[in-house]
């Protein structure tokens, strides 16, 4: 029997497929979301398809004071914890409204960093575990179209990198996921290029593989590594004039 997998932000399309990928391998699943009642059908789905035990847990990434209690209240310290929490926000709104900007920054960086820190400490004490953070290529270089989101993800990516460094000799592994475009609720209605856009199920498979192989940073579609290498290599005087 494999160990439990905790999925934070479990209502997300990506999280749903990540949970399925691990459930298919026999892992018990802990689904956590702000309104866990919404996950009743997802619990039934995982149990019916894969015959693994599933539990639901209330979790708000912004309620950082409650995070230690959340970890203590889980049925067990999970073997693997995946954080899919995120908020794209609307760039114009985040520019105009400091509250909205703070929400984007806190949801993509502060909240996830807070909960993963609690989990990391417990896993370090145990001497084993894997932490998976879903960050974004948007954090690799700030762009006019979503730089508040991008900046928050950049913070989260740096956080994950530091955490990986800290825990490398402690038996705990950290995986950073940079999914590229994914067809989910977050990107609904956007006109995304087919070749660059993954289905949530591809993310599920990639995360499972990344965890099993102990990878550090994963791009879901390999083409994104090329795209981002180019975008990052553009000299600033040129980059600042682009509209990517």
């Amino acid at each position: 029997m494999s160990g439990a997998v905790l999925v934070l932000g479990a209502t997300s399309d990506m999280a749903r497929e990540i949970a399925r990928a691990f459930a298919a391998k026999g892992h018990p699943i802990r689904l956590a979301a702000r309104v866990p009642e919404r996950l009743a059908d997802d619990k039934a789905d995982l149990e019916t398809r894969f015959g693994v035990p599933v539990t639901l847990h209330a979790f708000d990434a912004l309620d950082t004071a409650a995070h230690a209690g959340f970890v203590a209240g889980l049925p067990e310290l999970p073997e693997i914890a995946v954080c899919a929490v995120g908020l794209m926000g609307d760039q114009a709104e985040t520019a105009a409204d400091p509250e909205a900007a703070a929400r984007v920054m806190r949801t993509n960086f502060e909240g996830p960093a807070s909960i993963l820190e609690r989990l990391a400490d417990a896993m370090e004490a145990r001497g084993s575990g894997t932490i998976v953070g879903i960050s974004s290529v948007a954090g690799l270089r700030g762009r006019a179209s979503n730089y508040v989101y991008g900046a928050a993800k950049a913070g989260f990516t740096a956080y994950l990198s530091g955490l990986r460094n800290r825990l490398a000799k402690r038996g705990v592994h950290v995986v950073t996921v940079l999914p590229g475009f994914v067809r989910t609720r977050m990107t609904e209605g956007l006109d995304l290029p087919d070749r660059l856009t993954a289905e949530p199920s591809e993310v599920g498979a990639a995360v499972l593989r990344g965890v099993e192989k102990g990878r550090n940073i994963i791009y879901v579609r390999p083409v994104w590594q090329v795209v981002m290498t180019i975008i990052r290599a553009l000299p600033e005087p040129i980059f600042k004039k682009t509209s990517l």
Binding site: D13, D41, D42, A44, D45, T48, R49, F50
Partner: protein
Amino acid sequence: MTVLSGWGGYPRIDTEVLRVRDEADVARALDGGPLIPRGNGRSYGDSAIGAGRTLDMRGMDRMLGFADGVLTAEAGVLLSDVIEAFLPRGWFPAVTPGTRFVTLGGAIAADVHGKNHHLDGSFCDFVDWVDMIGPGGAVRRVARDDPGFDWIRGAMGLTGIVLRAGLRLRPVESGWIRQEVRVADTLDEAVEAFESRLDAPYAVAWIDGLARGAALGRSVIAFGRHAARDDLPPEARTDPFAVPRRREVPVPFHLPDFALNRFTVRAFNAANLAAGRRAEAKGPHLVDWARYFYPLDALKHWPRLYGRRGFMQFQCVLPLETSRAGLAALLDRIAAAGLASPLAVLKRMGPQAGRFSFPMEGYTLALDFPVSDRSLALMTALDDITDGHGGRFYLAKDSRLPARRLAATDPRVEAFRAERARSGADRVFASAQSERLKL
């Protein structure tokens, strides 16, 4: 706006696509203009393209429970997922079309048939109930013996949206099919073979669509039944559901229009016939479930074989009394046209069910044609023959039938329209196909 097409890649139509993830999403979408649900887009033509908006049901793909052989699941669950989850536990779909990549909703809406229609009926005969959202937004559980159910099966999404269903699965002892192959040298022999083996659980014929004259209707017929554990060689009995995994082979790009022509298809047909004779000589033998039910699923993106313009399928059913004469006339016309159709399939159907479901007792013939003026002209000629023999057409495959023809061949159309008007469904549910066919 998104350009959508069916499996045949023709026609291609602009529509607004909306993904739904739960019942509340569907209810919200209902007011906002006409729409049609879309499953996995395996219907060939324009059935699953909204006249305006298209509701992508794949976001509702949760299995909700399984008890006493009945799976409760959301409408967007794929049959392939059902097999993956339940074959290892000894269950298989009781009715399945020739591809497993269809949703439960799509299978119910088209009331799909398999190779066992003559014995078991169609998909909806194994659907115990559906949760259905009507034009007004009310959700209702409709059991199979409820008269309302007859307006759902085969209704192509035009009377309401299936949210969930209770699907009865078939217990099986293995993942293998015990197959027997017969080669029929003439159409009469083929029909005779079907009629003499009506007790065979599965039966399907592949027809050589280019054979003419004395060889008209030359075909390879595959009979099958689920293999019992004792039918397996001893080494396979420890894990009777494990079958060799085949790699999917992709067709990497659209082939040029001339790739499928009379000569390549003739070569393909000759090879198929030779393989049929070898299989016949073997006597009864075991074939794994994927190879038996879904040979085409192994060839990913196979519509690309037909080139960029896409292809159309002609599928009709002829009543038993006129089947022999009607099939001969159809095949003769097809062979004379010499249009390439490597995949021509003949099946025996049992009695009809419901108010608008396609099957009727007789024979159903299905063939693919590349999109071209010649194909369209040929299909019109085939329409005439079908009409003349009291047959009708399968909407899940249709992309070009004129409304007049549908009304002329299917007297049930009038009552179907009246029911849509009565329930108000005609103001909420509309597809490119329903507009074309004036349903």
